[in-house]
Amino acid sequence: MFNPISVSEVRERYSQGESCYDVISEFLEKIKDSRLNTFISISENEALAMAEKIDKGKLSGRLKGIPVSIKDAISTRGIRTTCGSKILENYVPPFDAHVIERIKAEGGIIIGKTNMDEFCMGTTTETSYFGPSKNPWDESRVPGGSSGGSAASIAEGSSVLSLGSDTGGSVRCPAAFCGVVGIKPTYGLVSRYGLIPYANSLEQIGPIASNVKDAALLLEIIAGKDYRDSTSVEKTFEFKLMDVSKVRIGIIREMIEKVDEKVQKETWRAINKLEELGMNYEEVSLPMMDYTLAAYYILAMSEASSNLSRYDGVRYGYHIEKEMNWNTYFSKVRAEGFGDEVKRRILLGTYALSAGYYGKYYLKALRVRNLIIQAFNKLFERYDVLLAPTMPTLPFRIGEIQDPLSMYLMDINTVPVNLAGLPAVSVPAGLNNGLPVGLQIIGKPFDENMILNVALKVEEEVWKR
């Protein structure tokens, strides 16, 4: 079932003379035949129409004819965008997200919208209103989340490139669990315009692909200033090969010591392999790790509680065809339209922002955030990249973790990066019991090129053996 397809493989087929229409049709069939529940919507008509245009020579670009799947949290004009929720089950955005415009402009073909945890709130896709996706390596296991559909689609080869979004690990986690590459860009590198917000100050849209170079290609295309997102910055990204033999590597002790043994083993195996290649590393400590998860969840839930206030059934989305007063109506819409995990986070976030608690929780979390940033800054004075396992466990079984707190603990290694706004990539670095283990490489702000070059090394020397 793990059968990813690279951009160059598709290009090869085109250079053999295959039509875009045929290639795209084949991918669409693959999506329909998939048993992994990776997609919520398939944009067959739009994709085939675009394929025909390409066949007629009307479109070109760096993604010409490449099938791209999109996490259903990213707005696509004319294609329903549910964010994995009943409350947006029939919502069709009237505009494209910035990243979608960029992909279309480069001739990429949007073939469908991938499954995800409802409003990105989860680590497995199990909170999706449309049911969980399955892990291509073992269908009884979760693909990770929240961008689980995207990563599983890349791993099963039903799309070649995908976009996810990463608020606390939502790109890196499923990339690790599915054995593919996922990038969380520096905060501000990619416009969030059109991304349905979960926690604005933490999240970035990021590419998922079968290999580092493909992921880098997609990042090149989506990166860059967009005036519609005031937090986006005047930076672009270009992937350049570089010599990484002298790169100073720090291994974050707290992120490796507390994880599952099997994950530890594969992580060290990968690190040792890099050492054999002449690269040096040191073990380092990231203080404040004990507080990061709490700080992250307070900030994320606070922002979420506010972001999700707009779903009241008045203008769009789930609504009830019955007369009742406004308060009853919107309460009922939200009671019926949101899932349990979403409600839990709205309640907790509302609580954290309430009078009397704001200082105790929200402001305190902001202070922790500042301390984390300082801690990273300090480490980056001595190291170029920091390494750690992406996830604390191997992919677990669907339904295995029921307790919300245990689930939140799964994000322990990924959230510090979001709090600090840093770039990170998860690259597959080993297999254990037939399940992939992802290695997370964290870099300085806007130093995507460095982490991706290290990731490329891991991919070539460790993963592909």
């Binding site: 965008t81 917000p197 937090t231 606070s302 506010s306 922002l353 009078a355």
Partner: protein, 475 residues
């Protein structure tokens, strides 16, 4: 009399800016179909992000400067969270800590002289949409929402509790409106342009907040009602409760909305999609755009045109009137222009409940005053022309001709005077024998013969001359 303490929160719509506060939707929705001036941003569609309209910030800075407030080093937008159907995101993007400006004052005239109404703060925020109810708010089975107003740039201007009467509140608002209109960012005549929340207390009592008073006259009414209500409570020994009240404009009363315990918790936190701004850095750009303000213009009018303080004050109370005056005063004697604009024209407007924006062009008044100056028409005739132009419009010369207002030729008046003297020997001899009131009768006769077209002043003068000649002849 008990001491009254009033503080105002004034919401001012910057309705002359081209686009809304966080999107590019045009602001000229006032005569448009509902929900035609909207986009994903001001409809709060998921994924659409606000972008600060720099022009709105500059306008805010200009207002703050004109109100003598201190622009802050750093300013930040916050989310004010509450559910209401006119609020498409479930929160309003407003300001909280780090507002645009602190302090400032507005100078007003009171019965006891000039007074500085000091300001607490000035901040920016977006307007929600607008709810309309078929019939009345109490009986309507449903309401309709128009999001055209959603995202309109607002300034909230908060005074210190230093206003001591409804009348003072009114003159503060009038002055504020004048200043805002001078800045060219605000048209106070548009619906919803200025909305006021008022805090009122009597010395020793708790304060009540009256929300959302939406007309200038309403403010004075609401405050007067509220003061009477509180006085009556105190008289009966009942404590005034700290509460929020609603002003029912139609009935002229305030009604309790909620007590302090039921106050909403807005859960303010910084808007993560909008980075902090440094408004002070924009001051140099904005400074040059600030025009001459009312008080300065008033002083200049007195010096430059030699008109009285009273006229200067009236003329500068509206930028349109001030500009109008200056146009007229270029061609016509400024004293005459001032009288005719500040007194007569303004009076006619008030009588008709018209705004100065509805007045005919200055060129037309110039024509009228020119005719008056050369005595082609009488003052009465001039007023008549003005009235017709206000009521029906039209060209002054044509109106003069149509209504036959041209003053009679002087030789013709002389002739009529001679006739009247011949025909009224009794009145003439009365006059000569010292009963000067007989003159009025004679003037009346001339006017009658001329069917009102003789200039009364001239007629008077001519008659006196002729009667004196008679007197000489007879003695």
């Amino acid at each position: 009399m008990e001491e009254v303490i009033i503080g105002l929160e004034v919401h001012v719509q910057l309705n002359l800016l081209k686009s809304k506060l966080f999107c590019q939707c045009p602001t000229d929705y006032h005569n448009s179909e509902p929900n035609t001036h909207v986009c994903p941003i001001c409809l709060g569609l998921p994924g659409a992000m606000p972008v600060i309209n720099r022009k709105a910030v500059e306008a805010g800075i200009a207002v703050a400067m004109a109100l003598n407030a201190e622009i802050q080093e750093k300013t930040l937008f916050y989310r004010k969270n509450y559910f209401y159907p006119d609020l498409p995101r479930g929160f309003q993007i407003s300001q909280y800590d780090f507002p645009l400006a602190y302090g400032g004052y507005v100078t007003i005239e009171t019965d006891s002289g000039e007074k500085k109404v000091t300001l607490k703060r000035i901040h920016m925020e977006e307007d929600p949409g607008r709810l309309t109810y078929p019939g009345t708010i109490d009986t309507a089975r449903y309401s309709l929402i128009d999001y055209n107003r959603s995202g309109m740039p607002l300034l909230e201007i908060v005074t210190e509790p230093v206003i001591s009467s409804p009348k003072e509140a009114r003159s503060f608002l009038n002055k504020l409106r004048t200043i805002l209109e001078y800045l060219g960012v605000f048209d106070g005549s548009l619906e919803g342009a200025m909305r006021v929340d008022a805090n009122i207390s009597l010395k020793g009592g708790a304060r009540a907040e009256v929300k959302n008073i939406s007309s200038y006259k309403g403010v004075e009414k609401a405050l007067s009602f509220e003061i009477t209500r509180q006085k009556n409570l105190l008289k009966r020994g009942i404590m005034v409760e700290m509460e929020t009240r609603h002003f029912d404009e139609a009935r002229g009363v305030t009604i309790s909305l909620r007590t302090k315990e039921e106050e909403q918790d807005y859960r303010y936190f910084p808007e993560p999609d909008l980075p902090p701004m440094e408004p002070r850095s924009l001051i140099p750009d904005v400074k040059d755009t600030i025009p001459e303000l009312p008080d300065a213009k008033r002083r200049r009018f007195m010096e430059e045109y030699g008109i009285s303080d009273y006229f200067a004050k009236v003329l500068t109370s509206e930028i349109r009137m001030a500009d109008y005056f200056e146009k007229v005063a270029k061609v016509i004697d400024p004293g005459l222009a001032a009288t005719w604009i500040a007194d007569i024209l303004k009076g006619e407007l008030n009588y008709r409940d018209m705004e100065f924006s509805e007045v005919f062009e200055a060129e037309k008044l110039i024509q009228v005053l020119k005719l008056l100056a050369v005595k082609k028409i009488t003052e009465k005739g001039a007023v008549k022309v003005i009235r017709v132009m206000l009521d029906e419009g039209g060209d002054p010369l044509k109106i003069v001709r149509r209504l036959d207002l041209m003053v009679m030729d002087l030789s013709e008046v002389e002739r009529l005077c001679d006739e009247v003297i011949e025909e009224n020997s009794q009145a003439v001899s009365d006059y000569i024998s010292g009963r000067k009131e007989a003159l009025n009768y004679l003037v009346g006769q001339v006017m009658k013969k001329s069917r009102g077209k003789a200039d009364p002043g001239e007629t008077n003068r001519i008659l006196i001359r002729k009667l004196k000649e008679r007197e000489k002849d007879s003695s």
